[in-house]
């Protein structure tokens, strides 16, 4: 797992499977919830676990985030942003 400390952090959780990938995603979103919900940041997760493309978005949508999933070659890019008020 690598950590990108740029303005819009990116987490590479490829190799992890659910539920640990979900817990990691939730932990990182929890840490940045104010920034993401305020629209100042968005979070990018890279995963190669197909289940994660369902469990992570469902959990995050219930928490009030916008989530988009895009396939990039052999992995998926999950982008988490705040919902417009």
């Amino acid at each position: 797992m690598t950590f990108d400390q740029s303005e819009n952090p990116q987490f590479d959780i490829r190799g992890q499977i659910c539920p640990s990938s979900l817990l990691v995603a939730l932990r990182e979103v929890n840490k940045r919830q104010q920034e993401i919900k305020a629209g100042r940041q968005h979070l990018i997760l890279l995963t190669d676990n197909r289940d994660a493309t369902t469990t992570i978005p469902e959990a995050l949508i219930n928490m009030g985030y916008n989530v988009s999933v895009a396939k990039e070659g052999s992995y998926y890019v999950i982008t988490v942003t705040g919902q417009p008020v």
């Binding site: 932990r27 979103v29 289940d51 009030g64």
Partner: protein, 707 residues
Amino acid sequence: MNQEDRQAMMTEIEQLRHQNAVLKTKHHQSLLYIRDKVNQLLGVVGTIPLKPEELDDDTLIELDPIGIVSDAFTQILDHLRVTNDKLQETHDELQAIFDSASVGIVLVDAQYRILTYNSQAAKQLFQGQGDVIGQTCYDAICHHPCEPDSCLISRATSSGSRCSRKNLSLQNHQYDLVATPILDNNGNVSCVVTVFTDITERLRSEAALRESEERLRNLFENTTNLILIVSFDGQIQYVNQACCNALRYGQDELYALAIQDIIAPQEKYTARRQFRAILNGSGQDHISTVMQTKDGALVEVEGSASCQMADGKPVAFRAILRDVTIQRRLELEMSRTQKLESVGILAGGIAHDFNNLLAGILSNITLARFDLPADNKANGRLLETEKAVVRAQHLTQQLLTFSKGGMPVVQDVTIARLLHDSVRFSLSGSNVESVFSIPDNLWQVKADPGQIDQVIQNLVINSDQAMPDGGQIKVSCQNITISEDDPVPLAAGSYVCISIADQGQGIPRDIQQKIFDPYFTTKEQGIGLGLSTSHAIIHKHQGHITVQSDMGAGATFQVYLPAVCRQTQSPVDPLEETFISGSGRILVMDDEEMIRKTTAELLNFLGYNVDTAADGEETVTLYRQAMATGDPYQVVIMDLTVPGGMGGVETMAALHKLDPEVNGISTSGYCDDPVMANYADYGFKAVLPKPCKINLMAQTIQSLLTH
């Protein structure tokens, strides 16, 4: 270390080992508990349980999944709260929209139970019923058991698709209905949304609008005003029936025309300017123009026009016009009549004096003839002069008749002599000859000779003008008896029919009915009064005048006059005429000294004893004195007009009081005076025109003295 100390230490170690074992057991149980609870939480979040190989115990503790998930739950709850708030807001908004809808909306479930409804539905359908949620729609709305065949909600439920129905009668109102089924996830109808649009008022408005339109249409189509709408480019867009009637076009024919096509050629330029002014202006403008009918006749119109605007631009003009053709003609006639009346007043003013002068001239000529030997050549000249004086009197009479339509002063007239004189006079200097065919047994007529002379002259002058290259006028007479069955519009009785036939070009059939109209003329210099005056004169004589004509075959006018049924006396040579002499006392009243003098001389010549008076007062005094002496007057001849004194009518009334049997004769230069026409109503026994020939005076007096 002693044994005791070692023993104590061993005991303490043993205790520690035991505590460690207990702690390890508790640690393992705690980790199991944590894993179990984390798995529960993950299940709630929607993922699979943790696997031991996925997260070892140390990583599990380090990761703090409970903290992560509980934090996530906090956010989920926050999000749910926000979402619920939004849902509530949305619900409130929808409820407000639902309630503010102008149509009634009712939701029913598949069992026809009412789930909800808006306030308009409550007002329209459930007034006085309280809350109807849970009731069936057929109980709460239709108030009768469900009839699936005719029920819209039932149809929407069974078909699963939207249904509608127009003009349904419910609770004394008319509705348009739309029922929309809502399907659940399984495709079954969960409820039906029914929209009730109350169209009662709309139907009433539509009916009122139709009535209003019908009223306006009737008004437009039945008005005598010409209504038309013309587009900006001059195309006729609407005309009413009156417009079609006036212009003699069909409606479709007019719609194919431009406004300029129905304007008289001489008015096109002016009309175009008027229309432009209306289109460029605002408000209403007066409009006056002349239109042309399909067959070329002219129609004068006037009225108001206004501009129709759209988006601030003129698109058409509307005009409401009156056909003023007849009114203009009447105005013209009135103007002419007023002029004639002015002439009449002037003529009336001078006629009396003129006739008095003529009376003096006539009396002196007559007296001069008596003074001459019978074989003196001057007798003939004097006789012609007498006739000229009488004709001059007729001219005065014509002028009065012309301008005032004076009533005829009828007497028994021998028409043959009058015809000869009138025709000869009218054809003086003409290249047209006259031929007479008058039977010896022709009856006399009841007529005013002056007026009949005027009629004959009018007819003969027309005939003369119809033959500019010369020709012949045939004048014939016959006795006619009219029965009730005869088509001639005359009372049954005896008449003399006078025919005057020419050899002119004839009168076109289409104008034969118009030739007696006032001011109708085909002559450039004519004023169109000759035949209309003739018609009026004959009508006042209780007679009739007709025309028969074919183009190229001349025209024949026939005049019917009431007959006396007394055979015409053969014309007497005026030079050998004898006068009926008489005796007795006659009183002559006239304000003119010359008239008193000459009349007295004529009556003296006839054998009468004559006194004269200048006014009514003197006449009454003389009459009273004569009665008192036992030698009364047998006849009193009174002038009707005495300026500044008692005239004939007042004097007659005064004499009647003295002597109810008084033989009063009225005389006047105002031959159109109604007293002359209706003398008996004023107590007179006879009338004498001024001037008056001696033989007429002798006959009139003699007839009074012998009856």
